[in-house]
């Protein structure tokens, strides 16, 4: 178990920022994220609009708050001119109080990262890189529609180290069509030998509207079967352990002390503000998302009447009810290896966790999918493997 807390739940001042750069050089075959190729000129215009949103959005929120992490995600943030990134971070610091020890991450595509970019990121105060590798197998990379080869990644990783980045994450993917036990074993070994501080391992999900979905429906997508997928997980379990990584969340592994605080905040009830196209926010008991319509975003008028601009920008606003919050407490909290605390539940909701989720918890504890130790509930390895089925049962019938 983790010795030190990754996030202090009693730290009410902390605030996370997410900044979305919705551009990429080319859409990957599996990707349904809000991302698309545009002209370079549009990059600059978008960044202007984004900075304006940061400036205006900060005012009501920044009071008494301290930014504990910033995550610049995409799309491919490393695609745009690094000076834009510097500009964005300047804007952030102008309007928010950013803690000295804040974790500031940028996502990079191994194909679009030259060394000078890293040096400018460093200048902008960025201290963590997240490299989207997905696989060390070039034919799998081609299958996915990635624009880089494994060699590009090696150069990229080396450049990052040479620029002094000492906190690097590598994104990898399971369930890639054609992926085998052997290829996964090689991918993971190749990556872990480089000793990145953090590894994220996601599953490929075939999403509506992607080329993969079309292939899936045509029956031409050779996804690994459940047995293989399960054995792949076993390889992951063994290798990450052997190389000294702790699994601290369903899909995240880190060297001690290098857990991603930003993502951890999402599972731990920390407030965050999202800026840019489609970005999601959670602040003072409300969740909302920015518009996903690029043209609409670019036409937003933040000039004088701020409220009007924001009402067009922010969609899907949802005020969380107590039930909503209790559900989230469970299905987000249980994603963490440390699980959830019944004490924290009681403090937040003034209710006993067993009075709300008693029958589910008892059932899964008795079946060995959830472990109850002391005042915490957490998934067993076996429970983590089938967590989806179990988490869905913590949604409250209304």
């Amino acid at each position: 178990m983790l010795e030190k807390k990754i996030i202090d739940p009693t730290d009410v001042k902390q605030l996370e920022l997410y900044i979305h750069i919705p551009f990429c050089a080319r859409k990957c075959n599996y990707c349904d994220f809000l991302s698309f190729p545009v002209k370079e000129q549009d990059h600059a215009e978008y960044v202007e609009k984004l900075c304006r949103e940061i400036a205006l959005g900060a005012e009501p929120a920044s009071e008494n708050r301290e930014v504990s992490s910033v995550f610049i995600g995409g799309g491919t943030p490393s695609l745009i001119d690094p000076r834009h990134i510097v500009h964005i971070m300047d804007e952030v610091r102008d309007h928010f109080s950013v803690r000295k020890d804040a974790e500031i991450t940028i996502e990079c595509n191994p194909a679009s990262t030259l060394r000078y970019k890293f040096s400018l990121y460093k200048e902008a105060g960025i201290n963590r890189l997240s490299l989207g590798l997905q696989s060390a197998n070039d034919s799998e990379l081609r299958m996915l529609g990635r624009i880089h080869a494994f060699d590009d990644f090696l150069k990229c990783f080396q450049n990052a180290r040479m620029e002094g980045f000492s906190n690097i994450n590598v994104d990898l993917m399971n369930d890639i069509p054609g992926q085998t036990l052997k290829s996964w074993n090689e991918t993971l070994k190749h990556v872990l030998m480089l000793k990145p501080e953090h590894v994220s391992i996601y599953n490929l999900i075939v999403e509506e509207g992607t080329p993969f979905m079309k292939m899936y429906k045509d029956g031409t997508l050779a996804l690994p079967d459940e047995e293989t997928a399960s054995e792949i997980d076993e390889i992951t379990r063994v290798l990450t352990g052997k190389y000294g990584y702790n699994r601290y969340e369903v899909s995240n592994y880190a060297k001690p002390g290098y857990e991603c605080r930003h993502n951890y905040g999402y599972w731990s009830n920390v407030s965050y503000l999202g800026f840019g196209l489609g970005a999601a926010s959670y602040f003072s008991g409300k969740r909302w998302s920015n518009t996903r319509d690029f043209r609409r975003y670019m036409e937003l008028d933040f000039s004088d009447d701020m409220k009007a601009g924001f009402s067009l920008l922010r969609t899907d606003e949802q005020i969380l009810s107590k039930e909503d919050q209790m559900e989230e407490f469970m299905f987000l909290g249980l994603r963490r290896i440390e699980g959830i605390s019944e004490v924290e539940f009681k403090q937040r909701f003034q209710m006993d966790i067993m009075s709300v989720f008693g029958s589910e918890l008892e059932k899964y504890v008795s079946q060995g999918f959830i472990i109850h130790d002391g005042y915490r509930f957490r998934f067993s390895d076996r429970g983590m493997d089938v967590s989806n089925v179990i988490l869905s049962q913590f949604l409250i019938d209304r």
């Binding site: 979305h20 996601y202 965050y272 970005a279 999601a280 998302s289 089938v386 989806n388 089925v389 869905s392």
Partner: protein, 607 residues
């Protein structure tokens, strides 16, 4: 319009249209209504007589509709046509026979491309049994493959009625339909009977109306009925005061003063329960009753039973209400509450046949917006116990302990399958597979024969109709009639999921096919039950002895490991979807069984 009060009996024609499915009955009815000017073409919905959605979609008539139209004949006189529509499926044979009994003549439609089919014959014989004058009409002459000469010859040869001058028409385009109207006047007889005699009116259908109560559709054979008459229903013995009588305009009821011998119309008498107005019963005047009821009354009997349960157990009251409302208009539908360990509270429902079952199920789902779980259909078995008593068993779950059973009997039907020689072999194989006992082959002509088999009803209630169609490329047609009961070696096959008997999956099967059935069931269920947190054995057993086994392996991996940034709502939606999928399943201990699994057993032989 003719004055209803002074109708000359000789100007009335009461008739129906009989045909094989799809030979154009409803289309001709439409055309007759249109051409007699009762409705303008603009007002016509396609097939006005079939007014339920399901009927229109399937192109079959389930509930009969009756219409009165006025036709001005070539002799310049006005005639009243009462067109009595008949249900078009073997399940509704009794209703058909009662509708026929209300007529004096029948138009027999034969498809000019297909010629005589099984139901053409069955319905013709039924019409002849009721001494109806038959007017053959050859339809679909607009089709390129039409061969009216050959079909006319066939009608003469097979049925033995004059058909060379039969109108050759296209009900679709309206071509020559005028000839049919004139032939109705010329060839079909006017009704007989005296308005002065004691009242005898035959109930051939009924309908429930929220304001008027039950509306009785009847044909007055003798006597007169008017507002205020105290009527008695001779079989149910119930008495009522008539509040309204009238006749049928297309889609509407038109009240009139009285109905007299020879007329077709309706009666209302503030009747609340449709079960008191049984089809085939005789209405008489309580003050001056007829000596005898009209012949041919039979109590409708359910042939097929199944359990119907709400998918969402909370909707049991809605299901009860829906069945109550459906029964108002469908006296053949029977139901009583039952409880299943597997499915909770529901109803055991009795139907005339599988189509009837289908129709009711579809109406419940469509008109009452219910999600249903239906158990395997069962016939009624006679279970003779060692204590000398006999029980009628319609729910396999209620089968007594084998030690208490002396023997069992199952219902047998006489099946007639009309088939061309090329498919005869495969149809005979099918019948043998279904325990059919061959009776005879009758050649209608060189190219067509009727195979007669005695078959257990329980072998045909699943998918026999589909199997016949698929093994004959759609050419064979099929009809059956209940023959009686016969001793048979029947056993109850239980299905155990995770070592627990699922009562709703139990069914009764002949001992010889029990193993095969059980094995198929297990295989089918293995594919229907999704992998879950545990390994799940599926077993088929007879009296505790396992016959077959399959295993659903445990789910090994189901994680949502994808980064959606902070978009928690999206994540939650995915979990909600997952939970919704689970909600559609039934929980048995730790095991979840999807509704589709209960339905899948109906389709064991469809591959």
């Amino acid at each position: 319009m003719a004055d209803i009060k002074n109708i000359d009996q000789s100007k009335i024609r009461n008739f129906c249209i009989i045909a094989h499915i799809d030979h154009g009955k409803s289309t001709l009815a439409d055309r007759i209504i249109e051409m007699t000017g009762t409705l303008t073409a603009r007002e016509m919905q396609s097939q006005v007589l079939d007014n339920m959605d399901i009927e229109r979609e399937r192109g079959i008539t389930i509930k009969s509709q009756t219409t009165r139209v006025i036709y001005t004949a070539k002799d310049g006189k006005e005639y009243i046509f009462n067109l009595i529509d008949t249900p078009g499926h073997v399940d509704f044979n009794y209703e058909v026979s009662r509708a026929l009994a209300a007529c004096d003549g029948a138009i027999l439609i034969v498809d000019a491309t297909q010629g005589i089919q099984a139901q053409t014959l069955a319905n013709t014989y039924l019409a002849l049994d009721h001494d109806l004058e038959i007017l053959p009409v050859i339809n679909k002459i607009d089709l390129p493959s039409a061969d009216p000469d050959r079909v006319a010859e066939e009608v003469e040869d097979v049925i033995g009625i004059e058909a060379m001058d039969a109108p050759r028409i296209s009900a679709k385009t309206g071509e020559n339909v005028a000839d049919v109207l004139e032939a109705i006047v010329q060839k079909l007889p006017a009704p007989e009977g005296s308005p002065e005699n004691p009242l005898q009116a035959l109930i051939f259908d009924s309908l429930y109306d929220n304001y008027r109560g039950v509306i009785i559709f009847c044909r007055v054979k003798e006597g007169t009925v008017k507002v205020g008459t105290r009527i008695r229903l001779m079989a149910s013995k119930a008495e009522f005061d008539v509040t309204e009588v009238g006749y049928f305009a297309p889609g509407r009821f038109i009240p009139c003063e009285e109905l007299t011998a020879g007329m077709v119309g309706y009666i209302t008498a503030s009747i609340k329960d449709i079960r008191e107005t049984r089809v085939g019963d005789t209405v008489t005047d309580a003050a001056r009753p007829a000596e005898k009821p009209l012949p041919g009354y039979k109590k409708v009997q359910s042939m097929v039973y199944c359990g119907i349960y709400p998918a969402d157990t909370m909707r049991y009251p809605d299901l009860r209400d829906a069945l109550e409302k459906l029964q108002l208009n469908d006296a053949a539908l029977q139901y009583e509450p039952e409880t299943s360990q597997a499915l909770g509270f529901g109803f055991r429902c009795g139907f005339l046949g599988l189509l009837h079952l289908d129709v009711v199920q579809e109406r419940l789902e469509r008109e009452y917006n219910l999600d249903l779980v239906t158990t395997a259909p069962s016939v009624v078995y006679h279970v003779y116990k060692t204590d000398g008593t006999m029980m009628e068993l319609s729910n396999p779950a209620n089968l007594p302990d084998p030690a208490e059973i002396d023997h069992m009997e199952e219902p047998i039907v006489e099946a007639e399958i009309m088939v061309t020689p090329e498919f005869m072999g495969s149809i005979m194989t099918l019948c043998q597979e279904r325990r059919g006992v061959y009776k005879s082959t009758e050649y209608i002509e060189a190219n067509r024969a009727i195979l007669k088999y005695d078959m257990p009803l329980n072998e045909i209630i699943y998918d026999f109709f589909d199997a016949i169609k698929s093994r004959s490329k759609g050419y064979a047609s099929f009809d059956y009639d209940l023959k009686g009961y016969q001793t048979s070696k029947m056993v109850k096959l239980d299905i155990l999921v995770n070592r627990q008997v699922i009562d709703a999956l139990s069914f009764i099967v002949h001992a010889d096919s029990a193993y095969e059935r059980g094995k198929k069931m297990c295989e089918k269920l293995k594919n229907e039950i999704p992998r879950q947190l545990f390994e799940i054995p599926i077993q088929a057993a007879i009296g505790g002895h396992i016959q077959a086994r399959e295993t659903v392996k445990a789910l090994r991996k189901d994680v949502l490991a994808k980064c959606y940034g902070g978009d928690i709502s999206r994540k939650k939606k995915l979990l909600e979807k997952q939970k919704e999928g689970k909600r559609r399943m039934r929980q048995f201990g730790n095991v979840e069984i999807p509704q589709s699994a209960f339905m899948s057993v109906l389709k064991l032989d469809s591959e």
